[in-house]
Amino acid sequence: MSSVLIHAIEAESALETLLWGDPQTLRDAANDATEERVNVLQIDVLVLDNRDVWYEFEMRRRLSEPETVVFVLRFTAETGFQDNCVASLKIADRTFTAPLDADGVATLTVPERAVLDPKSKRPLKPYFVGLTCA
């Protein structure tokens, strides 16, 4: 079992920019007359088992689902992945996990309250992106 977890600082900055303000701002991010809005938060690399694994970290907001935020982690490795890899996203103290599909994509549906601090109305931090392969 090998595992790596890295601090996604760039994604935090991107979220700060996108979600600054009250929860309405978060909802407005999806509210530009399209059902779904996609923002790429970060493109970066991590090293697992002595090979580089690149990932694209997206946030998706759906007009019809204002209470949830969908994070998509799309991993790419030169030789692909074995069947049993699991992506994790740690936001503040909460960890969300999802298995990688055949295309190396993990989709994590996160409640809005896990993304925005209910008091300060600011995005919760820090963000860590991880990958575990058996």
């Binding site: 601090h7 970066d44 694209e56 790419t76 503040a92 103290d93 601090d117 931090k125």
Partner: protein, 253 residues
């Protein structure tokens, strides 16, 4: 963050044009991600400005560079991340820092020592994972030279990064006896921890996760206010947590 007018499809087409037929799709996909990341981070624009060619016309040339340096430097870049190679990487940084240090003789308290610059660069590259930021558009050694210059400039500025303490690489869970200066955890302005030798890996492990995070940010030079903002805590809470961290570290030392 820098946005660009290039779509992923355009990058895909450019990469396809500049790689030999039969190149595995996974390899091309990584090249595309490298270029998109470099565009987002403004790296391409910075390199392009030096060339004097408009970005749209420059991009094919840039793609060619990434294709070339990914091929030529990949092995060295990956090896440099391996713990077995860290002593060698440090020696490389030390040699580069030796040429930079004389330019910082003006810094108070006898200027910047090459060892301090090399250690600061090493800590950022390995301890903070900045080696992953290598853009594959220039030889690795050239990029490391630029990196050493940037870290020297950072060290020459006032603030927490000037306060250094020797920590062992066990902090990074690596089996190496190499010691390096890092940001001081004594937490008082103007403190001088240069003579202290702490191995705080055990102490840090005893801390609760949030306190470990506070300690990590502290070591990175975050102020109390910045830490509070980053972790969503109050300033008083950060001060309390720092006190507990200091206590834990002094016990483990």
């Amino acid at each position: 963050m820098t946005t660009t007018a290039f779509t992923p499809q355009q990058i895909h087409d450019l990469v396809a044009r500049h790689t030999p037929a039969g190149t595995p799709p996974g390899y091309c996909a990584i090249l595309e991600l490298i270029i998109r990341r470099n565009l987002r981070r403004g790296r391409v624009a910075r390199v392009q400005r030096k060339s004097g060619t408009p970005l749209r016309e420059y991009l094919p040339e840039y793609v060619e560079r990434v294709v070339r340096f990914r091929r030529e430097e990949y092995g060295a870049w990956l090896r440099a991340q391996h713990p077995d190679q860290h002593a060698g990487l440090y020696q490389t940084l030390l040699a580069l820092a030796g040429k930079v240090a004389p330019h910082y003789a003006w810094v108070p308290d006898n200027g910047l020592a090459a060892e301090d610059i090399a250690s600061e660069a090493f800590f950022a590259l390995i301890g903070q994972g900045r080696l992953c930021a290598y853009p594959f558009d220039t030889p690795l050694t050239d990029w490391l030279r630029q990196f050493v210059w940037l870290r020297a400039r950072r060290l020459s500025q006032s603030g927490p990064s000037r306060r250094v303490v020797t920590v062992r690489l066990t902090d990074l869970n690596e089996e190496s006896t190499l010691s390096l200066p890092s940001t001081c955890l004594c937490g008082k302005s103007g403190c001088n921890c240069q003579e202290q030798h702490l191995d705080h890996s055990t102490g840090l492990l005893k801390l609760r996760p949030t306190n470990q995070e506070v300690a990590r940010l502290w070591a990175e030079g975050y102020t109390v206010e910045q830490t509070a903002r980053t972790l969503g805590l109050t300033v008083a809470a950060v001060n309390n947590r720092r006190a507990r961290i200091r206590q834990a570290l002094s016990q483990s030392a």
